[in-house]
Subunit: 278 residues, 2 copies
């Protein structure tokens, strides 16, 4: 995926380095903190307004490389926030408006589990050129200086999946403030592999374009649930996977595999049995 925008020292950001990768509607924002000392002196240069140096370091110390937020584009991030909070969502960041009123970006965040958040983001103008309008403080990167050819035709996020110790309360929490409905529910026997068991529930928005999944470990089986192992290593709940939609999954994986030898993703071997019927 090509890097389409950046905010780092070269863009006068002394708090963090952030790179925005894009393919289709899919955007990945990867952020690393700069020196704590410099950041303390120059506190106002962060281009992600909810960035906190202390929180960022604590997150990395607990989770390593992990997903901190899943951002959902909404019509009004201020309204989405106030409706969510009045329906029980725990606040992580009050709405913050960036830019001029006629061409602004609004960001707000609510807790999804542990220190992982749902980020609401809204643009007053349609985002025709995401690289230029993503967030103020980001500079678009010319295609020529980026990595052409690294496009695996990934379209968008199909769903984001999180792990929780107990499904029912987590589902109720998310349903209450998002208004999402139950889209699918799968028990341990349906997707148990030889190594682990888990229960899952998927929630979706009205038109089912946004899907958030949750899973809990199944206890009392001969095998330790992979979700318990996840909790151990992630030091608690968090996003477990992001499912990406591609035009042609076989082509995408073939392309990824071909390039994994040059430092790309190392693909896992297929599981013994995960789902039948493929």
């Amino acid at each position: 995926m090509p890097i389409v925008a950046k905010s780092d020292l070269s863009a006068e950001n002394k708090a963090h380095a952030s790179y925005l990768l894009r393919c289709g509607q899919l955007l990945f924002l990867i952020t690393a903190p700069y020196s704590a000392t410099i950041s303390t002196v120059d506190t106002n240069t962060a281009s992600i307004p909810t960035f906190s140096h202390a929180a960022c370091r604590a997150f990395i110390a607990a989770h390593g490389l992990a997903v901190r937020s899943v951002a959902i584009e909404v019509d009004d991030a201020e309204l989405a926030y106030s409706i969510s909070v009045s329906n029980g969502a725990k606040s992580f960041s009050l709405p913050i408006t960036l830019g001029e009123p006629e061409n602004s970006v609004v960001i707000s965040e609510v807790q999804v589990y542990n220190d992982a958040v749902l980020r609401y983001i809204s643009y007053t103008k349609p985002t025709v050129d995401i690289a230029s309008t993503f967030l103020s403080g980001f500079e678009p990167i010319e295609t020529s200086s980026s990595f052409p050819g690294q496009n695996y035709d990934l379209r968008c996020l199909d769903h984001a999946f999180g792990t929780v110790p107990e499904l029912a309360s987590a589902v109720n929490y998310l349903k209450s403030f998002t208004g999402f409905h139950k889209f699918a529910e799968i028990g341990g026997e349906d997707i148990g592999t030889i190594e682990s068991w888990l229960n899952t529930v998927c929630l979706a928005c009205n038109d089912e374009t946004v899907i958030l999944g949750l899973c809990e470990p199944v206890y009392g089986t001969p095998w330790t649930s992979q979700i318990l192992t996840y909790f151990e290593h992630n030091e608690g709940p968090g996003f477990q996977h992001l499912a990406l939609e591609s035009e042609d999954i076989f082509w995408t994986l073939r392309e990824m595999k071909q390039r994994s030898g040059f430092g790309g993703l190392a693909l896992m071997p297929p599981p013994l049995r995960l789902t039948t019927g493929i």
Copy 2:
């Protein structure tokens, strides 16, 4: 560079994940800590005997991705350590012997600057197969499962270079316990670029196969020294660069450049004027 050995969860190491990359005599060991909670429970599974979870996290928080130690193979890491310490070196780790006496590895560490160390390592038997004998707890990785083709014909470390606030005392410190002699000395005017100035001294062992360089910022010039910028972002002294020897620098860089688009190293543009005569 292919990964030739690993020590991680799959090798029962619950403290850290470490991967050993090798090309010629050049070895890179890259380490990341696992969960602090797990590591506290299983303290004895670290395969790098000087690994400390707290120190590792503190190092990453201060320096980010950086060189923590430069390891020098010596005849006797216990003797090298005791001679160094009796000549003023600050100890970082007492000698630790791993494996059976007839086929052991000894490791010891002394401070070079800040929390960067010189690691002495000695093997009782010649290291004919580094992937198998590197450290106990490491498992060799078969070439077939590694990344063939990623070999840029790098031979060895030519020199390691560190930054210090004041050259004279740092040179005296290193000379005193290593017995190294002054190999080269270059002032700011010789290698000042349009952007920065620095002074350097290189120290070498008797046969000049091991070279350690040091540099300090030059003050009072129209430009801020790049070394001062380094101190700001690294939060103090540390290794600034590792110079690698290749068979053919033009071929090596051409190969690296070809693959940088797939997630490899992003090469910097050449400086305006660094050294004349090339």
